[in-house]
Symmetry: C2
Subunit: 407 residues, 2 copies
Amino acid sequence: MMNIKEIQGGVCAAKGFTASGIHAGIRKNKSKADLALIMCDTLCTAASCYTQNLVKGAPIYVTKKNIENGVAQAIVCNSGNANTCNADGIEVAEKMCNIVADNTDVKAEDVVVASTGVIGQPLDVTPIKNAMPQLVASLKDDGSSDAANAIMTTDTVKKEVAVEFELGGKVCHMGGIAKGSGMIHPNMATMLVFITTDAKISKEMIKKALSNDIKDTFNMISVDGDTSTNDMVTLLASGQCENAEITDENDDYASFCKALNYITTALCRKIAKDGEGATKLLECKVSGAKTLPDAKIVAKSVITSSLFKAAMFGADANWGRILCAIGYSGANVDITKIAVSLSSQAGVIEVCENGSGIEFSEDEAKKILTEDEIIINIDLGDGEYDATAWGCDLTYDYVKINGDYRT
Amino acid sequence: MMNIKEIQGGVCAAKGFTASGIHAGIRKNKSKADLALIMCDTLCTAASCYTQNLVKGAPIYVTKKNIENGVAQAIVCNSGNANTCNADGIEVAEKMCNIVADNTDVKAEDVVVASTGVIGQPLDVTPIKNAMPQLVASLKDDGSSDAANAIMTTDTVKKEVAVEFELGGKVCHMGGIAKGSGMIHPNMATMLVFITTDAKISKEMIKKALSNDIKDTFNMISVDGDTSTNDMVTLLASGQCENAEITDENDDYASFCKALNYITTALCRKIAKDGEGATKLLECKVSGAKTLPDAKIVAKSVITSSLFKAAMFGADANWGRILCAIGYSGANVDITKIAVSLSSQAGVIEVCENGSGIEFSEDEAKKILTEDEIIINIDLGDGEYDATAWGCDLTYDYVKINGDYRT
């Protein structure tokens, strides 16, 4: 298969796309941009996946309706207010689409709308209306960073990635931006991710590619076990790289999925590493499971354990908490077959074999766990299936950030 | 039905029981007692409920075997080491029972054994062996506090309660001690609780009473969502108050269950309020659910949400996080029918109606949430069932305590 090469440009790397982000006044803090626009100069095939929380942000309903026909052309997103649990939420989300349409050539029903921030406070559409002409005027083909900045909430770094890949001899591009820091937990439902590509792919296949991909990527991240109300992943394909349209599961589809997985995995790692208050990325690799669900359940349970996450913050090789989290996960495992090792750039250390502790150097373990990317390797020794989940440590700052988020 | 009167005495309030707690040397810190003994001068009927974690502490297996015949006479418990995930764990737990037998009239097979502390470090039985004569010599009928102290790990206060009640004109007593701070989460599995009574009750009925009670009490607490490997609730009945033995579900059984529920609810509240790092007890009362499981799932989901718990630490009425936790709970609810209010000694404030926010005074809310016992009232407006769960806020100190627990 072809090579994937990382490039610059985020959501503007693909042909046809521009982006912008400005301070519209939804947030009080004027130095923080709060409104983003991503625009294609042609209609795109499009797919979205949404939160599975029963409480859904109003924008989810509107986006779902707008994208049902498999096409879209623009994405508008505000931060600072989630437009969720508001009596007039859907009306406001629809107005946001109309405001985009009023200021561009895009039809309201081809706009993807998203909001992120506080739940249950009415979203005043006036600042969005007033800012839209400037937001549209700011659209540019190196505007991805501006958009990535504008969708951030408690994120500390903006999250962008882009790649170049080939489809039938044509050079294609794909790139994405993401936000998401707290309220991130398996079940999709976890963040905002906007991905664009200039590959040509049918409505059916773009939907299939995205919904398959998220099972192993965005559904395998956890920052705090809370599944958010608003989050979604949207993929737009402009088709401007002029490959033969992907309409079935051929080699080009496989290449497309591989590129997509590169983008989504990179964004997952960025999101987990920038979890609220996090100092470390935790990657839990489970192998030897009896079934795929067992592998996934174990990986997610470990990555979600508050006790384990706090131990990682303290660089404490308290592997008993890993065993404990496996034990209550509900997965079908034989505890006496489990082996655990911890690794990072600084090395690898075995801590548990056959479900019991083995002697190891605490100094060596400390050295390994002091790094900022830790891999927890769990071999269940009982089958062929594996899975990876991503998370972060639990820190003082998580509590600080969430102790008084609204003020 | 009869009155229940709170009295002093803990596990020694019931006739026949003595208790003691000393520093045996399992912990390095000499000022912290680490070995407890509870003893009855006659054989008791007995029941236990255990963790549902697949990873079970070795003492669980030994206690289960010893209590299978429905009788027991003594409880030995150490803190500082969980004797879990050790290759020789069961052997060590059996030795602990033998050591009790060697120093008393109690048979080894009538000893309930428990351990709590770090997982995966071999438990040296030598200090227990050496300390047992002194532990037995220290047994006294006001020794409940000593035992309650000795079983504490990261607990900050000892947990004891006792009551007086009547069975067929006879004055009976029941009392308990508990430990449990982190690693506490629904599914039993959550702490150590030892309860004694001088009521006369058959093996069958004591088992039924305990296993029914925990569904609404210990299975409804959560400190951090982690289900521990070691924890259990044990109930011993000496029969020395000379009531007519309870052998079926008659009025006396109902009185017995009511007294038991008083003890267990009181201990649940104490455990939740003393959750690791906690500054507040959170009591989530759900009403109007379609089914009992729905009521329980909602109550537990709210009490377990890290985001909500952090908001309570900050006395922030961020009710959106309550709706969010209801939404992802998996319960069958109609979001548009939900009403939420928050209350404490300082008053009550409505924050959500029909699933949407309503205007409320942030100052008033702050005043209510600054108290140390907060009630979250959730009316699902959709049925007849209710449930209560207990938890605590998420604080800096939780992270501090768990960031480097082993050192």
